[in-house]
C-alpha cells in the first residue's frame, strides 16, 4: 500500500524517473539541491557583507554628524556655524569618496552644506538620536546611492523652540564594492566546490549504475534461444534481485520449451512403431497379391510410409540440433576430412542405386579438425549429399570437396543437376520450404544443415554452378595448431 503522500509524490512531474534515463534522473536530483544551496549561500553572504560594510560606514558617519552638530551653535534665534576650512578640507579630502553634509532648519530648509540630502524616513524623530538610512541624491547629472546619518537638534529659547537637522552622507559605492568583493571571494571557491561535487556525484552515479549496463550487455549479447541463467559477478543487491527475477523467468521459459521439445521427440518415437507396422504390412500385402492395380496402390502406400518415416527422422534430427540438446551432447575434436570420406562412402551405394556418380575430390590427407559434435556434423553432411542425390537426378555427378582456407574448413557438395533458381536459394533453408515438388523430400534437409552449421558458428550458402548445377558451401571455423616459431 502506498501512502497518500507517496502517491502525490509519484504524480508530481519529475519526481519519478518515468521513462527518463535513471542516470539523468539521479543527476538532476543530486545536483538541483546543490544549486539551491549555492544560490542561498550567495544571497546570505552578500547581505551579511553588506550589513557589516554599512556598520563600518555608519560608525564613521555618526562621529562626523556629532562633530558637525557641535560646530553649530545657537545665538538667540539664529545659528552660528563655526566650520573651519581645515575641517571642511578633511571632510572633503577624498575626491573618490566624498562626504556630503547638510544642516537645515527647520528640517528640510537648507542653510548650510554642499548638497541637498533626502530627509530621514522617520515620522516623530527624537532629539539627539542618530538615524541611518539609505537614499539617493542628485550629484551633477546622475543619481547617487548614499548612506546617510541624520540627527535632530533643538535650539532657540524655551518660548519658541526650534529644531535643526544635521545630516552627513557618503556614497554607498564603497560599501557595495566591499560587499561585492566579499561575495565574489566566497562564491568563487564555492562554485569550484559545487563543480567538483558535481563531478564526484556524476562519477558515483556512473559507477553505481554500471552493473545495470553490464546486465544490459549480458542480455543483449544473448542468442534469442539461449535460455541459460544470466551470470553477473559481484553485482549490488538491487541488481542481483533483478537478475534473480530474470533468471527465474528464464528457467520457467526453459522448462516450458523443453517440455514441448520432449513432447515432439516422444511423439516422433511413438510414431515409429505404427509406421514400421504399416510398412511391414504393405510389404506383406505386396507379396500376397497378383493384381497389378492393387500392387501399384500398395507401392504408393509403402512410399508414403517411407516418406513419413523420413520426415520423422528429420524432425528428430532438428530437435537434436536445438541449442539445449547440443549443449547436452557435448563437443569434441572432429576430423572433417575423415567424416567427409566416411559419409561419402556410406552414401555411394544409394548414389549408384539412383544412377548418381558420387565421389570425393580431396588430394590432401592432413586432418582438418574442427571443434564440434560429430553426430550432428555427420547429419548435416548426410543431408547435403542426400539432397544432391535426390534432386540432381539420374546420370548426374555429385562431388564432395574439402579444403582448409586460413582459419576455416570449407566443405562443398557440388552437383551438375538442374540447380535452384536464385530467388529460391535463401528460402530453401527455411523449414518445410521446398524449391521443387519432385522427389520425396520433406523440406527439412537444408533447415537441418543450417541449424547444425550455425550451432557450430559456421555459415552455409548455395551457389550456382555453370552451365547448370548447385554447390552447397559450408564454412566452419577450424582448429589451427599454433606452431611455436623459434626466434
Amino acid at each position: 500500500m502506498l501512502s497518500p503522500f507517496k502517491l502525490a509524490l509519484r504524480r508530481m512531474p519529475g519526481v519519478t524517473p518515468g521513462t527518463r534515463s535513471l542516470h539523468r534522473h539521479l543527476l538532476l536530483w543530486l545536483l538541483l539541491p546543490q544549486l539551491v544551496l549555492w544560490l542561498a549561500a550567495a544571497y546570505v553572504t552578500y547581505n551579511v557583507a553588506d550589513r557589516y560594510a554599512n556598520r563600518a560606514i555608519d560608525a564613521a558617519l555618526k562621529t562626523a554628524t556629532r562633530s558637525l552638530a557641535r560646530q553649530v551653535k545657537p545665538i538667540g534665534n539664529g545659528l552660528f556655524i563655526d566650520f573651519p576650512k581645515a575641517a571642511q578640507d578633511i571632510i572633503e579630502a577624498d575626491p573618490d569618496d566624498r562626504v556630503y553634509y547638510m544642516v537645515s532648519t527647520p528640517p528640510g530648509e537648507f542653510i548650510l552644506g554642499n548638497n541637498k540630502l533626502p530627509p530621514p524616513p522617520v515620522n516623530d524623530a527624537r532629539l539627539g538620536e542618530t538615524y541611518f538610512y539609505n537614499g539617493s541624491m542628485k550629484e551633477k547629472s546622475h543619481q547617487l546611492g548614499i548612506r546617510v546619518a541624520a540627527m535632530y537638534l533643538s535650539f532657540g529659547d524655551e518660548n519658541a523652540p526650534q529644531r535643526m537637522l544635521v545630516q552627513v552622507a557618503r556614497s554607498r559605492a564603497s560599501g557595495e564594492e566591499l560587499a561585492r568583493q566579499i561575495l565574489v571571494d566566497t562564491a568563487l571557491p564555492l562554485s569550484g566546490l559545487v563543480a567538483l561535487m558535481s563531478v564526484i556525484v556524476w562519477g558515483g552515479i556512473r559507477t553505481g549504475l554500471a552493473p545495470l549496463a553490464r546486465l544490459r550487455a549480458e542480455v543483449e549479447d544473448r542468442a534469442p534461444n539461449d535460455l541459460a541463467p544470466i551470470k553477473l559477478e559481484a553485482a549490488p543487491e538491487e541488481v542481483r534481485a533483478l537478475v534473480k527475477a530474470l533468471n527465474s523467468l528464464l528457467a520457467q521459459v526453459h522448462e516450458n520449451v523443453s517440455v514441448q521439445k520432449r513432447f515432439i521427440s516422444d511423439a516422433a518415437h511413438q510414431l515409429r512403431t505404427p509406421l514400421a507396422g504399416l510398412k511391414s504390412q504393405t510389404e506383406l500385402a505386396l507379396t500376397e497379391t497378383d493384381n497389378p492395380g492393387l500392387q501399384a496402390r500398395l507401392r504408393r502406400v509403402h512410399e508414403s510410409a517411407t516418406r513419413s518415416a523420413h520426415l520423422i527422422n528429420q524432425l528428430l534430427t532438428l530437435a537434436r540440433a536445438e541449442p539445449e540438446s547440443v549443449a547436452a551432447q557435448g563437443r569434441t575434436r572432429v576430423d572433417l576430412r575423415r567424416l567427409a570420406s566416411e559419409v561419402t562412402a556410406e552414401l555411394v551405394p544409394r548414389g549408384r542405386h539412383a544412377g548418381v556418380d558420387l565421389g570425393l575430390d580431396d588430394g590432401d590427407e592432413k586432418p582438418i579438425e574442427i571443434h564440434g559434435n560429430a553426430l550432428l556434423l555427420r547429419e548435416s553432411l548426410l543431408n547435403l549429399v542426400d539432397n544432391a542425390i535426390r534432386y540432381a537426378g539420374d546420370g548426374s555427378v555429385v562431388t564432395v570437396r574439402l579444403s582448409a582456407q586460413d582459419s576455416q574448413a570449407v566443405l562443398e557438395v557440388e552437383d551438375n543437376g538442374p540447380g535452384i533458381a536464385e530467388a529460391d536459394r535463401e528460402r530453401v533453408f527455411e523449414r518445410f520450404a521446398r524449391a521443387t515438388h519432385e522427389g520425396n523430400g520433406c523440406g527439412l534437409g537444408l533447415a537441418i544443415v543450417k541449424e547444425i552449421v550455425e550451432r557450430h558458428t559456421g555459415t552455409v550458402e548455395l551457389q550456382a554452378v555453370q552451365p547448370h548445377g548447385l554447390r552447397a558451401v559450408v564454412r566452419l571455423p577450424r582448429i589451427v595448431e599454433r606452431k611455436t616459431v623459434a626466434v
Binding site: 507396422g277 556418380d357 570425393l360
Partner: protein
C-alpha cells in the same frame, strides 16, 4: 532356422512374422518381455529379434539376462529410439546388431542373414558365392564357373576385402591396411595396378569393380 520375435505391437509383429515365414524362417512371437525371456531361456533358437520397448520386462533387461545365460545366441535389437545413447546402451547390453524403426523388410532380412552367417560354423561362412564367382577361404580357391582363377597373395586379399564388403566402398586405406600384414611383396605395385589385374581376371564373371572417385573401389554385380 528358428527365430524368436519379441514385439508388442500386434500389427507389426503380425506382418514381421508373416514376412519372416515367407523368407523361410520358423518364427515364434512373444508379445512382452516376460514371455520373451521365458522362451529364449527355455527353448532353442538360432536368433532373437528384440524390441527394446517391451511391456512387463523391458527389452534391455531381457537382453542382459539372456546374454548372461546364452552368450552365443545372436540378438538383433529393434528400437524406436535412435539417440546415440540408446545405441550404445543396446550394444553394451550385448546386442549383435540394431535396426531403427521403421525399416524395410529386406533390410531386416539382410541383417538377420548376416548375423546368422557370422555365428554359423566357420566352414559355412568361409565359402561365398557371388554371380558366377565362388570364393572359398578355407581351401584358398577361387573359381568362375568352376574354372580356377589364379590369384597372387595380394590379389587374394584384395578380392577377399571387396567380396566381404560387396556393394560397399572399400577405401584405399583399408586395402593398404590389409596389405600391411603381408610383408612378402612390399612395393610390388600400386593399388591401381592390382585393381586393373583383378578386373581382367573377373572378366565374364558377372562382377564388376567400380572406381569411386576419391574414395576407393566397390564390387557389384553387373546389371543383367
Amino acid at each position: 532356422m528358428k527365430l524368436l520375435l519379441a514385439e508388442d505391437d500386434a500389427i507389426l509383429a503380425d506382418a514381421l512374422s508373416a514376412n519372416l515365414a515367407l523368407a523361410g524362417f520358423e518364427v515364434d512371437v512373444a508379445p512382452n518381455g516376460a514371455v520373451a525371456e521365458y522362451l529364449l531361456l527355455r527353448q532353442q533358437f538360432d536368433l532373437g529379434v528384440l524390441d527394446l520397448g517391451l511391456p512387463l520386462v523391458d527389452g534391455l533387461t531381457v537382453l542382459k539376462r539372456v546374454r548372461a545365460a546364452r552368450p552365443t545366441l545372436p540378438m538383433l535389437v529393434l528400437t524406436a529410439l535412435d539417440g546415440l545413447d540408446h545405441r550404445v546402451a543396446g550394444l553394451n547390453a550385448g546386442a549383435d546388431d540394431y535396426l531403427t524403426k521403421p525399416f524395410d523388410f529386406p533390410e531386416l532380412e539382410a541383417r538377420i542373414r548376416a548375423l546368422l552367417r557370422r555365428t554359423r560354423s566357420a566352414a559355412a561362412a568361409s565359402a561365398q558365392e557371388m554371380g558366377r564367382l565362388s570364393f572359398d577361404r578355407d581351401t584358398r580357391r577361387a573359381a568362375i564357373d568352376n574354372e580356377a582363377m589364379e590369384l597372387s597373395p595380394r590379389e587374394w586379399m584384395l578380392m577377399d576385402l571387396l567380396l566381404t564388403q560387396r556393394d560397399k566402398v572399400v577405401t584405399k586405406e583399408q586395402i593398404a591396411e590389409a596389405w600391411a600384414v603381408d610383408r612378402g611383396d612390399a612395393n610390388a605395385g600400386s593399388i591401381e595396378v592390382y585393381i586393373h589385374r583383378l578386373r581382367r581376371k573377373l572378366d565374364g564373371s558377372g562382377l564388376a569393380i567400380r572406381t569411386v572417385r576419391g574414395l576407393g573401389y566397390l564390387l557389384e554385380a553387373e546389371a543383367a
